[in-house]
Symmetry: C2
Subunit: 499 residues, 2 copies
Amino acid sequence: MKSFIEKSNPCVPSSGYFEYPFNIMVYFGIMVLKCEYAVRGEIASLAQKLQQDLQANPGSHPFEEILYCDIGNPQSLGQQPITFFREVLALCDHPALLNKSETHGLFSADSIERAWQILDQIPGRATGAYSHSQGVKGLRDTVAAGIAARDGFPADPNDIFLTDGASSAVHMIMRLLIRSENDGIFCPVPRYPLYLASIALHGGTLVPYYLDEATGWGLEISELKNQLETTRQKNITVRALVVINPGNPTGQVLAETNQREIVEFCDKEGLVLLADEVYQENIYVSGKQFHSFKKVSCSMGYGDNDLSLVSFQSSKGYYGECGRRCGYMEVTGFGPEVREQIYKLASVNLCANISGQILASLVMSPPKAGDESYESYFAEKNGILQSLARRAKTLEDGLNKLEGATCNKAEGSMYLFPRIRLPNKAIKEAESLKKAPDAYYAARLLNATGIVVVPGSGFGQVPGTWHFRCTILPQEEKIPTVVSRLTEFHQKFMDEFRD
Amino acid sequence: MKSFIEKSNPCVPSSGYFEYPFNIMVYFGIMVLKCEYAVRGEIASLAQKLQQDLQANPGSHPFEEILYCDIGNPQSLGQQPITFFREVLALCDHPALLNKSETHGLFSADSIERAWQILDQIPGRATGAYSHSQGVKGLRDTVAAGIAARDGFPADPNDIFLTDGASSAVHMIMRLLIRSENDGIFCPVPRYPLYLASIALHGGTLVPYYLDEATGWGLEISELKNQLETTRQKNITVRALVVINPGNPTGQVLAETNQREIVEFCDKEGLVLLADEVYQENIYVSGKQFHSFKKVSCSMGYGDNDLSLVSFQSSKGYYGECGRRCGYMEVTGFGPEVREQIYKLASVNLCANISGQILASLVMSPPKAGDESYESYFAEKNGILQSLARRAKTLEDGLNKLEGATCNKAEGSMYLFPRIRLPNKAIKEAESLKKAPDAYYAARLLNATGIVVVPGSGFGQVPGTWHFRCTILPQEEKIPTVVSRLTEFHQKFMDEFRD
């Protein structure tokens, strides 16, 4: 196997290599090695280990259960799926049920009706066949109608690409936009790690812009301008701007005036606007409202020739169907040649999973007043959102009471991102262990309390500041325990390291 | 928007650019532009147009319906899903059904039992939650047990990665193996276009090896050796060998002796063996049997340190659940560092869709003798496979009767790949229209008969030979029509262009 090594190209920059136990030299490209996914990192592995410990040996740790506040995965923490969605999915999975009289006793009338509608939208009623690479046309019609109803502006089913979750759509767009490491993508700091990973995988450069923690994670145009200028001086072509609204991990909801400024900025600077709007229904404060960037740009009079905009939506909303991998992107303001390239990329993936495609259509077209399921649907949805709002408030209040900690409001999404001010001694202790101080804090927290959070360093933060991301998803009755354990731990930690 | 152009790096090789209608210059990387997907190409678009014509204006063409022989998509042509699979999926989608007495009248006892088992395997019974990035551990246990039962050698659930179809697994592996265009991946010619597209997308070089049509699409080691030598002279590092067994588009099933030679070759040359085994249950001739490469290498005494092997399986088998995007790869013989890289890539996709993960477990663990569903399951499966075998034989016989055509046996998979010997006049006519001769033939065939096939040039073929890929999937009662229309067309075509 010598030739394998000899023929390796030593000019590939910054690649790593290591030896196979069985004598094949493997030499991976920088892109895979660079790509990290904080929410599935070291702390997650530690939590898994502790969970196994507790199962094998109850009482082996000073807590009885792991309290997961790390991943935006509501159903893993006991949230129940929306009944109507699952009724329709089950009927579409096994359409033979639709011809049985007993089915009417088991399913709501509107889920049965909807399943028939959906089956009629799928060519040959074949719910196991590959669909059009953009997704089943009839389901895209439904999604487009849902967008139009939400925004008050028309949406074209030909602009919709149904995808296996938003991640898959983001990868497609990054693949399209990034030609080399000289291509930059503007991303907020802090930001959900998907963007870092996807940009790294596709060989581009993440160009950071900082959200202003002091103004509730405000997105300042002056910051974008400064960063753009600096970046251009480095011979990086910034091609797109990622905006996550509501914010992840930061939980803020953008004001419409701010969104208008962002649209103008992208137009002026020729940037593609990538709007991550997967938490569009998760809003917890009465003063804020979600506005899609599509709606904002349309209301400003922008047409298809003025702004290239991609809006991402997924199964990660309040209904928490994360594992169903459903999502769509709405792609507007691109010319036909680019559209063809996007279609080509979609066709390499053949199509998104049909069950997820159906779910995407349901999310954008839930039961309406008068439908049999309407009241129960509405009660389930509101029950989830109101409980999340209460959990967010209790956690936010608890976090703000910790010594040296400040936490902005969770206006939306599923996350809080408190800043913790750690004593120098703690920082030194972390450094001596070759850990980021917030990762050290998170590991200590987990070992002491069973509470899992994600260190801020996985999302990016202003250098010298430390944070963690905490979801608002533990069951409501467990939130007081989370707060009290965290409070007790934090006090002890601060006492231990007080300068 | 000038800066967008000025800052573009003119050194990126062979990239194309074109102008946005709204004045942003877009300049895409070679990788996206190079990537083509023959089965979703020009002929597919023409078929779609004709289908719309026929709907809008019946009688507008000399045929009443489009006869799709282009895509391996059985359910789109009326094949019904396996009842047991769909029963379990429906119950897992809507677990509330399991507590209702009426459910026992609607579902088989073993589907109810299996659904309970699966729910118990999923942490928190949360069928909408993200799973472990490799897939739900309990479902991987089931898949591993199914592999062990199939092969008679153990399989480790930690070696299983559940994926959104085989495509997603192939992309992950290509991403891992390819560092630059100096990395080559051995692929058969002819071959399923996924490989060309995936290698192009990841910036590598497809290194062809030719299957020998004269020996029933035989895979000759001498050919591999020759190509390897030539390729190494070009300073290309060949990193892996793709083998598709049963063949796509070629339909052959490899003999075990041949597989042993391939294993030895990969071992000797230090190549990762990528075994596309998605049609493992689709075998139509009594003299042939499917053997997994895992089984073959284990039976040769190869252990985990001797051969790096990835086996791909998917929802594309006889059950035809293509659109459910289920699949797995079994990854053996890689060191822990490489495994970590694969896991990292999997974690960027978060997880495969849960419904597809469940289906993967069902495929590898169908009803057993004694289960209530066993007889109906067996009847459905055998009904499909026996009908496919009859269709394959009828088509093969019909194709072999065409003037100048020869067609190897469809021993397995879902395809025939006849060679057509076209008159020079036809070739010249095609060239004058800037079309490949087989693409010209396929377009003429479609326009005359409504039969859709994929030109051989989309799969690769020995230069100067022409083929097309024809699925065996049209409903059995339509096969005689396919044969007679094709025969009539072919005769007229040959008469028209006879030299």
